[in-house]
Symmetry: C2
Subunit: 332 residues, 2 copies
């Protein structure tokens, strides 16, 4: 566990200042106090008070998602959630959930057994056992990228896919692209369905016709690209919009293999803005989700549900980040 | 202005306790401190600190909406907003906005001129001058029941109309109603359009056919009913869903005039759950919006926008409140 000294060094302030921040002393600014608390969460430090109040606990469930390293999709989501929860003196456990746990334990039972007051669940698929149980749960639950109708105890947190995809398609259209493909993530995922609908609406909005040879569901991994990109190129795609940045990195690999240059021969757009997006050559233009803020919104939603305020949806606007992977359509 | 003594009397606590709550003394509970602050806002008391920090100001704009008495739609919205803003030491001005101000002053200019850091705008119609300016504003703005696409500085707050209307239609259908009418509020309103779409989807979801003789746009006032209810009855309506509780109260008047008994001859459902809903005879079944919490969500959204977190939407779930105005369809 990090010490107070570690936090002081990271922030470049005195140990006494960190101590004041952690104990809520009145003679440091609110901003500095928050910086101290946020850094303490980030570095894994926990105050005596938090260690004592073990009964006041929240849980983050993670399924189908990497989250342990800063470059992983889930990392900032959990960090943002914990930074906010810490301010209200919640302890937060992170639990990785596979199909086995979901088969062996009922969701509500698991929550009660461990004394969790609420959960933030990330990465669940529509067919997961726990999803059908969460649809009817009495326990406050915030879902990332999943929506449950008619349950006052469950709220949705996510990025407005429509707006990001609309912006990206408009940009490609303005650059002359008329054959814009969409390589989506996993089927059986609520958010994949939302993005598919957003793509179809975006294509219609610029006056193009939908062509099913230009769309495919894959998985949210790089390897997904090689199964679908050749057929999309065959169908005349001049731009490929991807369900996430990892899929886009796979498109880079396929293009490199086929000796196609990005963006001269083909434009590529990702989704998420993971660290990998700026590391690719050329840099990947992508639809950015602010994962740290999404994590904070998840806490806001969950905390509201715990206080009997039934938030149905909290959505963040995406940003379209332009790097080098998008260019004018190639004139033949 | 209310005094500390007034607040103490209202809460049934000592004057010294109120004083501690207002000054953030550590020896009263967080819950009591919040109660003191919330009551202080409600009673119009302001601390010395707040009076000094006049430069840190937010504004609530109100157009086409009553808000001055507890029974008015806007009252709790403003109260919830101010209770939250007060905790962060914001001063909040409430400004009633008519077409004249919107013609004479540009939105951004008005905001800058008065030193407002952000606005919560309630009751604006789509055709209002300021709405087209807000669509492009750089100033953080939370909108009640209005959505602006593609502007990172503007967020939407509202109740999920779909879910409330779906529940109400399902309930009426289960009671045997097959001719369910919808008397909507004003045209040229984003939220009226949302509710119209929700009504049409709800009717289709239970397997009924849309009949345009059963729907009409009116205005969000009681008087609206007498222009439309006779034609709806003529078209065979056995239940009338209303755009708000005021319209529903107008439906009561028309029915009384026509010697129709509620719910024996006709079922009526409102929207909002204003105080009037429980005062009507029989009590009005209605789709409840939690306006105090909506006001708090508006503050959360606006405060996020001010801190460069671009919240697109915050939505609350409605509740369907059953009172006496809904019954089984009359068998002929």
């Amino acid at each position: 566990m990090a010490t107070i000294k570690d936090i002081a060094e990271r922030l470049g302030v005195a140990v006494s200042t960190v101590s004041k921040g952690l104990n809520g002393a009145p003679d440091i600014s609110e901003e500095l106090r928050r910086q101290v608390l946020d850094t303490a969460v980030e570095m894994g430090y926990r105050t005596k008070k938090m260690r004592k109040e073990e009964h006041k606990k929240l849980v983050v469930f993670v399924e189908n998602m990497d989250y342990e390293r800063p470059e992983d999709f889930g990392y900032d989501l959990i960090l943002g959630f914990r930074q906010m929860a810490y301010r209200d003196n919640w302890a937060v456990n992170v639990v990785s959930v596979g199909p086995k746990l979901q088969t062996h334990e009922k969701y509500d039972t698991y929550m009660l057994m461990h004394g969790y007051s609420g959960a933030f669940a990330m990465g669940f698929a529509l067919k997961d056992n726990w999803m059908s149980q969460i649809a009817k749960t009495d326990i406050p639950t915030a879902l990332l990228d999943n929506y449950v109708p008619l349950n006052q105890n469950v709220g949705y947190v996510g990025t407005d896919s429509d707006e990001g995809i609309e912006r990206a398609i408009k940009k490609l259209y303005d650059l002359g692209h008329r054959r814009i493909a969409f390589l989506n993530g996993s089927p059986n995922s609520w958010v994949s369905d939302q993005r598919q609908a957003a793509y179809e609406a975006g294509i219609r909005n610029v006056g193009l016709k939908l062509d099913h040879d230009l769309t495919a569901y894959g998985y949210y991994v790089a390897d997904s690209a090689r199964f679908h990109v050749p057929a999309m190129l065959e169908a005349g795609a001049t731009a490929i919009l991807c369900g996430n940045d990892l899929i886009a990195s796979g498109v880079y690999d396929v293009c490199s293999h086929l000796k196609l240059k990005i963006p001269r021969d083909i434009s590529v757009v990702g989704f998420d803005d993971l660290p990998i997006a700026s590391e690719l050559k050329p840099g990947l233009s992508t639809i950015r989700q602010d994962r740290l803020e999404l994590g904070k919104c998840a806490y806001f939603t969950l905390n509201s549900l715990i206080n009997n305020v039934s938030i149905s949806k909290t959505m963040l606007r995406p940003q379209f980040i332009e790097r080098g992977s998008v260019g004018e359509v190639k004139t033949k």
